[in-house]
């Protein structure tokens, strides 16, 4: 188990190193000079050169890469070209919206998907199964921005239970914060729940066909006991994989939902920075997201090993 963990950690570090080089190179290659963008088309060459020096753009590529990486490691993400504020501050602020939103959505998705998937698998081919499967088909098919707007129309405009957009901030209290994230979380969670429920169902059905499930029944377990005691844990591997992928997606992929609900999240930050050629922000936020994704994968790998003893033995 220790070797397994060490090996995963090593792969995490290598992935991060490779990702940082790729991100840096791609952004270097991308057209658009931030200095000329900031000063406009009619800028004097001297002013431009001065700004480039100030921003550190005239240093060699290797130097800039090293400055960027060492900065990031010590928590200094540089200064935004456009806003002239530390990137770290901007990112922290946005993370307090995006991370809770992703966790909230994922929790909702799991809470909906697990019972739905288990219910459908236990009633394979019967009315309950058909009902759940039709609902998930619908869930996968509906575009989430449209669904978000429907939520706003019903719960914000008609029933007035929630506000139509914006984020009140955590300083107003946990409940107020969660309350203003509820509609976006539902909008994000529902399509994910539909996918997860389908995965849960098919993983369970695969396991139900296994020989050891028949052995369990031959011992005297009821069908339900066999499902809970022997089926569920064996079905978790594909489910964990999907949960890991979904969390990564929810963290940054909520950009459209953030737009619909006017949420100051990471997705919007990236979008705005790209439009403004604020490369240092793009670089840093992308790197941060990559770190989040790789870290989530690492966690999922650890969860695999916790679920399946065969992986612990492997190196």
């Amino acid at each position: 188990m220790i070797r397994y963990t060490l090996k995963r950690l090593l792969s995490l570090v290598i992935s991060l190193a490779v990702a940082s080089v790729v991100i840096f190179t791609v952004i270097e290659v991308a057209p658009g000079d931030p200095a000329s963008f900031m000063l406009g088309l009619n800028a004097q060459p001297e002013t431009l050169a001065a700004l480039r020096t100030e921003l550190g753009l005239d240093a060699s590529k290797l130097e800039r890469y090293v400055t960027w990486i060492t900065g990031m490691l010590s928590g200094d993400f540089g200064t935004s070209y456009t806003y002239r504020t530390p990137v770290a501050d901007m990112v922290t602020q946005r993370m307090w919206v995006s991370v809770p939103l992703a966790v909230y959505a994922l929790a909702l998705s799991t809470v909906i998907a697990f019972p739905a998937g288990i219910y459908a698998a236990a009633r394979r081919g019967r009315a309950g199964d058909v009902g759940v499967m039709s609902a998930t088909q619908l869930g996968v098919a509906i575009p989430n921005f449209w669904f978000a707007m429907m939520l706003v129309l019903l719960f914000a405009i008609k029933l007035r239970w929630f506000s139509a957009g914006g984020f009140v901030g955590w300083d107003k209290g946990l409940f107020a914060g969660l309350h203003s994230l509820t509609l976006p979380a539902i909008a994000l969670a529902l399509p994910q729940a539909a996918i997860l429920a389908r995965v849960m169902r098919s993983a369970l059905l695969d396991v139900l066909g296994e020989d050891f499930m028949r052995t369990a029944r031959a011992k005297g377990l009821t069908a339900r006991q066999a499902l809970w005691r022997h089926g569920l844990r064996n079905a978790m591997i594909p489910v964990l994989t999907i949960i890991g992928l979904q969390f990564s997606f929810l963290l940054a992929g909520g950009i459209i939902i953030e737009q619909v609900f006017y949420l100051p999240g990471l997705g919007r930050l990236i979008f705005q920075s790209i439009s403004a050629r604020d490369l240092i922000v793009v670089e840093s936020v992308t790197m941060l997201l990559v770190f989040a994704v790789i870290f989530v994968n690492f966690t999922v790998d650890m969860a695999y090993a916790a679920v399946d003893p065969r992986l612990r033995a492997r190196t």
């Binding site: 070797r3 050891f212 028949r214 052995t215 029944r217 031959a218 005297g220 005691r229 022997h230 033995a313």
Partner: protein
């Protein structure tokens, strides 16, 4: 009163008839074997006794355990009975255990389901039961996971689960089919011992008549969902009444006569061949280890000779076969066919490959279901520089199909239209079509029913006559190798431990391993009743 009495049991699944009017009894302490070919309804009879039938199953008749009619019991009552009064052991030990739970938990679970006891007490009894089935503590601690055990050891765990509560009846469904002969002998011995010690009734389901003859008190022969004959083992073996029973036993001990070898020039020469596999690294940055799967193997196969290769699973048979076919590189030594190396550099030598074909074990998995037979069997043509076309191609296809006992009209059919035995004939046609010098049969008859197996063996003997075949016949089934080969190699742990004329090796084995192997293999007694 009998322990188990199945009376006029008829079973259909989704209105598809499975069992028809099956009746038999099993007494306490009696070992009853149910035998028959695939599709005879053996396993369904076992599941019916457990009342663990698949969805859509409808039964009539009675399944009496003592004076309890199980068909009238509620699901809750049946759950209380399964594992407690009736235990069951399944065929596939590799998958019959839950991979994510320890063996201790799995054995203790049987006890915890049925008895109000503490977890600690259940684990203590699980340890005792595991010791009883030959997995003593502390060598096999309760904390072991199934993947840490061999196939035979896993089957012992499954048996421990089934007998933990000393049930009155134990059902074993092909419990040794997936195991090697030496392991099979140990497991059978264990089952008989447990049945005798506990006075358990044992319902043993197997297709292997040699196993049946060796251990059963009584034999029930089934065919297409019906019991065709039943009786005490000694009586039935010497006085078979039903033609199907006679055919079954005759096919099991079927022997063929091979034509004499004509030419003696060497065809395949294998010299000091070694094949290593990489094993996982021991330390994070250390060198990966290596495992020698084939170690210093040398032998020769003459043109027209039929050579056998026997050994238990994991002994390196399949690795050697792949190396012979040029599908895997070898680390040391040389393999030549007609004097040409099978490998040139690191790539297989195509000029040699066209002189060699292979027939695999699984007649279901070794064909592409979307292609017609004509396309399947002409696949080896890609090895030829100028494959036949048009009428000539058609003629070659027809000849190949006729040679294996099929008709030219079969060329336009799809593979799902054929039975297992017919598919294996098609596989042989595919191997024959480019008239190779050498054919490798890799467990080619192991998946077939005995009657079909006998037909395929006859076909091979016939082809030896008409096509002057040379082949290497790889199998774990000693009785088949004995009749279908001239010479035999015995392989153990990657090495050839003995080789010689087949009859000499079988009647007078020299190496201790060969002796163990031959002793462990169950043999049918001399039968007077089986005449057809």
């Amino acid at each position: 009163m009998s322990l188990l009495s199945i009376q006029n049991l008829t079973l259909s699944i989704h209105s598809f008839d499975i069992l028809h009017d099956v009746s038999f009894n099993i007494d306490a302490g009696e070992i009853v074997a149910i035998t028959g070919e695939s599709g005879s309804g053996k396993s369904m009879t076992a599941l019916a006794a457990m009342q663990l039938l698949p969805q859509g199953a409808q039964t009539t008749g009675r399944v009496m355990l003592g004076d309890d009619d199980l068909t009238q019991r509620s699901e809750a009552e049946l759950c209380a009975m399964r594992g407690n009064d009736i235990g069951m052991v399944f065929q596939e030990p590799m998958t019959a255990l839950n991979p994510v739970k320890t063996i201790g938990d799995q054995v203790a679970e049987t006890i915890l389901i049925h008895e109000k006891t503490t977890k600690a007490e259940a684990h203590k009894r699980a340890a005792d039961t595991l010791t009883r089935v030959g997995l003593p503590q502390p060598r096999f601690p309760l904390s072991r996971f199934p993947h840490e055990l061999s196939g035979g050891q896993r089957q012992r765990v499954v048996i421990a689960m089934a007998i933990a509560l000393r049930p009155r009846l134990l059902i074993a469904d092909e419990p040794t089919t997936a195991l090697d002969v030496t392991t099979q002998a140990q497991i059978l011995e264990l089952l008989v011992k447990l049945a005798r010690e506990d006075g358990m009734g044992l319902m043993m389901i197997t297709h292997d008549l040699a196993v049946v003859a060796a251990m059963a008190d009584r034999i029930i022969v089934m065919r297409k969902g019906e019991v065709v004959e039943q009786g005490d083992t000694a009586r039935l073996l010497h006085d078979m009444q039903h033609p199907y029973t006679k055919m079954l036993f005759a096919a099991s001990s079927h022997e063929v006569t091979l034509p004499d070898i004509t030419a003696t020039e060497p065809l395949l020469e294998v010299k000091n061949v070694c094949r290593d596999y990489r094993t996982p690294r021991k330390t994070l940055f250390g060198k990966p280890g290596s495992f020698r799967a084939v170690n210093n193997v040398s032998f020769e196969l003459k043109r027209g000779e039929r050579l056998g290769l026997v050994g238990e699973s994991g002994c390196g048979k399949s690795t050697l076969t792949r190396a012979l076919l040029g599908l895997e590189p070898i680390e040391e030594g040389s393999i030549t066919l007609c004097g040409e190396p099978v490998f040139t550099g690191t790539k297989p030598n195509l000029a040699v490959r066209r002189h060699m074909q292979v027939v695999f074990q699984d007649p279901y998995g070794s064909f592409n279901p979307r292609h017609r037979v004509s396309r399947q069997i002409t696949e080896p043509f890609h090895l030829l520089d100028t494959p036949p076309t048009g009428a000539e191609r058609q003629q070659v296809i027809d000849e190949a199909l006729i040679a294996v006992g099929l008709t030219p009209a079969d060329a336009d059919k799809y593979i799902h239209e054929f039975s297992g035995g017919q598919r294996q004939r098609i596989a042989i046609a595919r191997a024959l079509i480019i008239r190779p010098d050498l054919i490798l049969f890799d467990e080619a008859v192991s998946a077939l029913d005995v009657s079909v197996r006998a037909q395929i063996l006859d076909l091979l003997a016939e082809l030896c006559e008409t096509h002057n075949l040379s082949y290497l016949f790889i199998s774990h089934d000693l009785s088949v190798v004995r009749t279908i080969t001239d010479r035999v190699l015995v392989m153990k742990s990657g090495e050839i431990v003995e080789q010689g004329q087949t009859e000499d090796v079988f009647t007078n084995p020299q190496h201790p391993y060969t002796k163990t192997l031959i002793e462990a293999a169950p043999v049918l007694p001399d039968l007077k009743g089986a005449t057809t």
